[in-house]
Structures are given as C-alpha cells and as structure tokens.
C-alpha cells in the first residue's frame, strides 16, 4: 500500500509528489495535467521487475506501432524530452519504507549483468529504417528499497526492431493492474475469470456484478465464439451471451472487479473510471469498489473528469464505517511546467460539494 508517491523527470512531472494516499483514490483535473501519466508512473513502479512495461504503456495509449528508434519509443517517458535525465519513481508505504525505481538511457556498451535476453512484446512498423544512432542506447532499470534490495535490468531495440530485455522478467512484488479507458482486453479478462474460478471465487464477482445487471445468473469462460472470452448467463436469454456484446458499462465494471478481487495487497489503476457508466449507477460502482478493495486489501487509483463521479464516490464512502477515500485534483499553473496537486479529504470535499463548488 502506497502512502505517498513521487515522480521525478517522468512525462509532465519534473518533481511531483502525491500524498496522503488512501485505499481508494480518485484523481481529477483538466486535460493534459498528467492524470493518466500518474497511473503509468505507478504502474511502472509496481512492475519494476519488467522493463518491457515502459513500452506496454504506449499500447495502453493506443500506440501499437513504433518507429525503430529508442527516442521515439522511450523519449516521451522523460520530462521535457530530456533523454539525459534519470526518471525516479518512489513509493513510500505507511511504515515509511521506500521503494525507488530509476529509469535512464545508457550506452549499449554499458555492461549491466549477465543475461540471456528475451524477445519483447511489440512488433516494429514495417518499412522504417534503423540508423546506427537509434539503437545505440538501452533503457536501464535500477530498483532499490529501504531493506537494501537492489536490482538492475535493461531493455533495448534490436536492429530488426524487437524489444529485448537483459533478464527475463519474473513476476514478483505486488500485483498491479491497469484498466485503460480506450481498449478492452477480452482475453486477459477471460484469463482472470479462469483464475478466479480456480480459486472458487467467481460467485463473488457474479454477486457484485448483479447490482448492475439484475438478470445475471453466472459468468464463465468460453471459446465457442472463437477467441477465449467471458460469457454471461442472463435470465430470459436462450443462450449464453459473450460479454463483449453486453453494454460497455457492465463489461467495464466486470473488468474492474476482475482485477480488484484477486489482487490481494496489490494496486489497481483505472483510467477514466466513469467511462460508459450511467451516472445513476456510479454510486453503486463505488460501493462495490469500496467493499472489494477493503476485503481484498487492494489499493485503487482511478481518474475521472466527472463531478457526478466524484460526488457519487463521496456519497458511497460517506455511507461506510470508514471513509477510506481521497480525491486529488491536478493542475498546471499558467506558464509553468510543473504540476500541482490539491488533496481533498472528507471534510474538504464535503464543504466543496455542499457549497456547490466544482472540484475538477
């Protein structure tokens, strides 16, 4: 669980700290103030053992093809596009234990440590050339924590455009999931439901999802429609229905819950949480998230542009025994390249809402 998080030299954050984080956190603000970038920074930090995530976050933004050029692929990770800088992502837990991930570009010739290398996730755009200069640097990951643990890894582009990592990533640390606003990952959702079913917890998901679709009798995984996907058993329907064909709201809610339910002790990052969800349902969504996050001990950080979504979250948490929720508003002062944050606790948010003030 993060109590605070600091991002230095990452995207729009020259030096930015967000605190005190609660179990469930909502980040708001105008366009282009770094809401999604903050989630990406937290995602990279949680997945410190897998440098390929630095490329995966581009896919989350819809950029699936890239030129064979480290500057194109990783340049925008660095604030002000300063490739000489070192990105520093620091998480601090409530016991003041710090975990630091440093990301920098270093010459290909720099020796990291022995490793066989592993082919990465992305395919290059065809027909684009690679100059000598463009593959002359690798992305170096250096992780350390207060206990003295240290790790180093690196990824680079091969001349044929493959992403190769020095050491194959082995999953560890906390589970971290990113629910993006633009894409739906049906196969990954199906895998998560498989895993939940294996642990005999699929009924928890069905029960929580029934709040949003009262006809829902069950959820299962099927390949009958081709690719592996989740299918829903809806009362009154003659056949199982692929979830992909259900409404965007239900699909998204199930997608979120699928990630929160099994991520004990982990982190779930949700971009534009209210996307596709009707405003009258928002309070129920927050209740489900509050309950699930609390029982699964999962920290949630989400973003929104919606005042209705914020008010719904406030109401949902205010009706609980413990108000374990915070709102953060990011803003960029005029003519400055810094991002500022205002934290709303329960009292502050209540004042703003009751006085009819915008908090976005």
């Amino acid at each position: 669980m993060l109590e605070s998080f600091r991002a230095k030299n990452f995207k729009c954050f020259e030096d930015f700290t967000i605190k005190p984080l609660a179990t469930v956190n909502l980040v708001t603000g105008l366009n282009n103030v770094g809401k999604t970038a903050l989630l990406e920074a937290m995602f990279l930090h949680a997945g410190y053992f897998n440098p390929a995530l630095a490329a995966v976050i581009n896919v989350f933004r819809g950029v699936e093809k890239f030129r064979k050029d480290h500057e194109v692929l990783w340049g925008w990770l660095f604030s002000n596009h300063n490739l000489a800088a070192t990105i520093e992502l620091t998480g601090t837990d409530p016991a003041d234990v710090k975990t630091v991930l440093k990301i920098s570009l270093c010459p290909m010739s720099q020796v990291i440590e022995a490793g066989s290398g592993q082919e990465g996730l992305l395919e290059p755009s065809p027909g684009l050339g690679v100059t000598n200069g463009s593959v002359s640097r690798k992305l170096l990951y250096e992780y350390s924590d207060s206990s003295g643990q240290q790790e180093r890894n690196a990824i680079w582009l091969t001349p044929d455009g493959k992403i190769v990592s020095q050491n194959p990533p082995t999953e560890r640390g906390v589970a971290a999931h990113f629910v993006v606003s633009r894409k739906r990952f049906f196969e990954q959702d199906a895998d998560l439901l498989d895993e939940l079913t294996r642990k005999k917890r699929q009924n928890e998901l069905v029960e929580k999802s029934r709040v949003f679709e009262s006809r829902l009798n069950g959820l299962s995984v099927s390949t009958a429609w081709g690719p592996k996907m989740i299918v829903a058993d809806l009362e009154g329907q003659p056949e199982l229905m692929p979830l992909a064909y259900a409404g965007e709201g239900l699909t998204r809610i199930i997608s979120m819950l699928l990630r929160i339910l099994p991520a004990a002790g982990g982190l779930v990052l949700i971009d534009e949480i209210d996307n596709g969800i009707h405003h009258t349902t928002l309070e129920s969504v927050w209740r489900a998230i509050a309950e699930t996050a609390n029982t699964s001990k999962v920290q949630v950080v989400a973003t929104t542009h919606s005042q209705e979504c914020i008010i719904a979250a406030h109401k949902a948490f205010a009706s609980r025994l413990e108000y374990d929720f915070r709102l953060f508003r990011l803003s960029r002062p005029p003519r400055k390249n810094t991002i500022e944050v205002v934290c709303y606790d329960r009292e502050k948010l209540e004042i703003a809402i009751n006085a009819g003030k915008d908090v976005r």
């Binding site: 960029r332 915008d358 976005r360």
Partner: protein, 205 residues
Amino acid sequence: MTAERIQEQKVLLVEGYDEKFLYEGLIDHLNLQGIQVVTFDGVCKMERAIQETVEMPGFRELVSPSGSFGIIRDAETDAANAFQAVEGALVRAKLKPPSSALTWSGRSPRIGVLIQPPCKPSGMLEDLCLEAVAANPCFHCIDALFRCVTQAGSPLPTNLSKAKAHAFLATRDRPGLRIGEAGKKGYWHWNSPTWDSAKKFLREM
C-alpha cells in the same frame, strides 16, 4: 445546478448569499466587469472559506498570476478581531495579507480586505443597508412600527437591524425580497455615501 469554478481574474469572497446578491447588484450598478462573487454560505466559516476559495479550480490559473482577491466580511461584534481572523486565514493560505482594511497587498494576486461597516467597531450587513436608506421619507415609519410593537407588550426581535431591514423591504413595490435580492433591485440606495467604501474597494479590485 452547475458546480461553480473560478472563471474570472477578480474574485470577491463574501459570507453568504445575501452578501453575494447585494454586491453583485452593486457591481452591476457600477458597471464593473470581470468580478466573480463567491460564497460558501453557511457551509463553513469565513476563515476556512478563504482557503477553499484559493484552492478552487481556476484560482491558481486565473487569479494568482495577476488577478485580485477581495474579501468582504462583517465586523460583527469587533472589527479588529474580524480583520485579524481574515489576516490569519490569508497567511495560512500562503497569501500576503494587506496591512489594514481597505488597502491592497501583493501582486500575484493582489489581496484586499473590507470589514463592513467600514471604520466602525462593530456591525453587520443589515446595519449598512439601514444606514443607506435612513434618509428615506418612510424610514421613520419603520422605527415607529417597532416602538408600537414594544408598547403593545411584545419584546423586540433579538436582531433588530435584520428585523428593521425586512420591515423596510415589506414596504417596497415588490415585498418579500431577501436582503441580497433587494440589493440587486437597487432598494438599498446605491447613491448613499454608506456604500462609498464598498464602491472604492470594488473599483480597486
């Protein structure tokens, strides 16, 4: 109702909706542009409202760089205490308070405070309104009304100024307006010298 955010470079914070409507009326009367009047009416105290206004969306973007932030509050029982309370709240909000009421400090943004009624040790909005209409020919009727009520054996209202202000409004062509709404209608005689300090303050914003 649309949630309010800061949309002007000049922000005037007042205590309640009565003050908001009244000063909006005076701003219209003076034909001043670009002043947004904000209130946290009863939701929190003035000192807290200062912090909350500074942290409203749009304040840092519009007001902080080169705008102005004015605060008008009642003297209540002690004008000096009222000013000190505002001064302390401004310091806590990391803003430079002016050295005294009716003066301005700083540049990013400029900060000004007006304690009403000005240059008096105590008082509230209704006292100002009554003072502004004191020369009205029917005003002695209002005094007579309350004398009559006392003589009839009924105790005076605890807030006599407020009672008199509402009694005066009951005599207008559209009775029943709130103090602030009456301000928008111009019932509080904007040409009275009573409003001179407020006019000066608003013009200087």
